[in-house]
Amino acid sequence: MKQFELLHQPESPILVARLVLAIGSRVDPPGQRGRQQLLAGVLTRGCGELNAEDFANKVESFGASLRCDAGDDFLVLALKCNNDDAIFLLPLLLDMLESPSCDKDQVNLERDLNIQTIQRMREDPFYLCHEKLRLLLFSDGPYGHDPIGIKNDLEKIEPKLLLQISKQLSARSALLVLAGNPSLSLQEQCINRISGWTSEIEAGPPLIPEPLNNFAAVRCRTEQVVMMIGFRTVEIQNPDALLLRILQVHLGVGMSCRLFHVIREELGLAYDIGAELITRSSDSPMIWHLSCGIDRAPEALSAFLGEWRRLLEQPISAAELNLAVAKIKGQEALSCETLSQRADRLAALLSYGLPKNHSEICLKKLQHVSPAELQQAAQRLLQKPNLSVCGPASALNDLKHQWQVAMS
């Protein structure tokens, strides 16, 4: 994998950096779910000569933004600062991987904060529903949990384990994307330092095959039922990923999309409705979601099922395909407005092993996709839906029965 890329913007007063390692939460070992996000947080708590307080002081005194987060596939260090300050802050970004402090007290603090965050997130019925859906799709293996982790697992992670992992970070292959106008000497300094980071990232635990069970429910005293239908599909590099994106845009992007039109505009069943394709290096999930009143939940589920069958049984029209293609072109134009957006996009493409001009290649391919191809893709990839629901117990039993009948 290439290690350094520059998006040169000579006039920009801002510098954006993305340092990416392919060690997201998917490499969390069994029983240590949340480890990589904990590691990410700890990396912002001191490095080299700077303890946690000094580190925060330094970054904030420049008015910079510096974050480190674990996604499903990647651990990303993200810096945004004035171009003139980059000479002080970019080396710090590299120090975070080369000489993290990993102080025991700071690990314990970060771990406690993550546990409290998980507790707070449980107030959100969408979070509860999504967590159950992850288990339906991926069981308790990779991708089966939010990167923030699971309370019981986090409680068992010892600071010394984090210290051990953190010491190996700078040996690993990483990608640095800079956007802005960094000086040549600063670029050379960065390249020299990361060029020694060559070890291949070891593969994490293998994905667990999709479980047979396709229904999950969370009891919750809410006014609404949250409903998510999920499909486990293909990796972003797969040629089918583009077809899935078209289907996702057709279903869930914009106010003219199919789900919005039928379920919200025609039936008035829901306010919040959509479809997402969460791109991953393996088995990207496609998720359709809505929330609606308890009394109308069976009708909403019927509508969801109707749309799913429609995708499998009949091709979308040429007009619908053209609309989806136009939306994708619009998305591409809108996603390169800021330096951060451009750096994020380039870092993601390169980290997934895709070419820099992947978007252009996809836009060209779009012109040749047919409705029949899309229907075949739906039949291949969206054959097994999974349903997760969150709401009052009284609603859940009926939905379970309705789902079982529909799937039998």
Partner: protein, 432 residues
Amino acid sequence: MMVASVICSLTLPNSALGFPAPQQHLLGNGCPITYLPVADASVVCIEFWCQAGSAMEQNTESGIAHFLEHMVFKGNENLPPGAFDLQIESMGGSSNAATGFDEVQYHLVIPPEGLALACDLLPQLVLQPSLERESFQMERLVVLEELSQSEDQPEEVAFQRLLHLACGNHPYGRPIIGLRSDLLNHGPADMQRFQNRHYKAANCAVAVGGCFASDELLKILAAGPIGELDAEQDPALIDLNPNDLHMHWQPGEHHLSLPRLESARLLVAWAAPFAADPEALMGIDLWAAALAEGRSSRLVKVLREKLQLVESIDVEVHPLERGSLVILEAVTNPESLPKVRQELEKLLSQAQQGFEFQEIERAKRLLGNGYTFSHEAISQVTHHLGQASLQKRLLPLDAPLQWIKQWDQDRLHSLAKNWDLSKACILEVLPE
């Protein structure tokens, strides 16, 4: 039908933040069109703003401003339901809208080749809604679902309660989405009255940014429904006593227990100057940043990093036309709540003695960079121009950066002296 001509145009003082100087034209009816051509932008952004937020609702009208924003997208005789979205999205564009206390705004982003279509359709959509009865009934169901969704978020329920306790019967004390009882009673005629009352030229503004030709833009906008907007203000609005509009602040201490709340909250609200005094609000922003932005800030450093009493603590300034709000939120374990309250009191008292030079410099850098970083995209700048021109506060884009410089240690000390819990509305929220 009279078409308003362009009667006045001006170029604002200077270019800033990497953008050229915006320009403004006043249509014959007084509606300002502010525009910022940027030749290399990949999109055009169009924003329509109107002083028709929830604060303009009269008794029993609660929620009607936001409901109208939904109904606008149901179209009219020329634009049947879904036709606007279909045409705009077929060109790769996207649109949305948002209703606040003071304003409602409709925005659209589209590749440059869609400019003429967007300038033609957006004003038609926003200013000529048919409010057809069947669509109205259907959309009411959607709005009620939106209300239910927010009621299922305990944090949102707590926040609404805080506003109600602090602002009482003032419109800021009501949820923007409205009360369920009122929403069930609204009819199309009520909505039409609200629309007629507020969607006037004097209450509206348009901002356009991105890649476009100015002449073409002004021609299309002036010839359409924006140029036809009534120039006369509703007499009922002119006669309103400004004092009736101002917030009657209600300090006090309150407790609330909520089902499904997992972490306790300490919510504190203070009244702050009007949005029309942005320089004063900048001082409060600096105070808030010194207190709670970043790990080096006083509250975060002590309450989260040292004493480990909170999961998070932040202070946000909400500029509002009838009196701004400053809201502090601490998320903590229920058993730690009393201690958090005690320590907060102590820390605010210490802040009243003033801040160190370095603390203020840090806050200035964070605020200044935050402002610059959030005005990088043409869509962000267009949004800023729309709101500023609506409120007749169109200043150079870098004016906030100049205001930051004007706050020094002494001036901030004078400000900080006035901020303690005695003037605040405090709500302690615990799990049921």
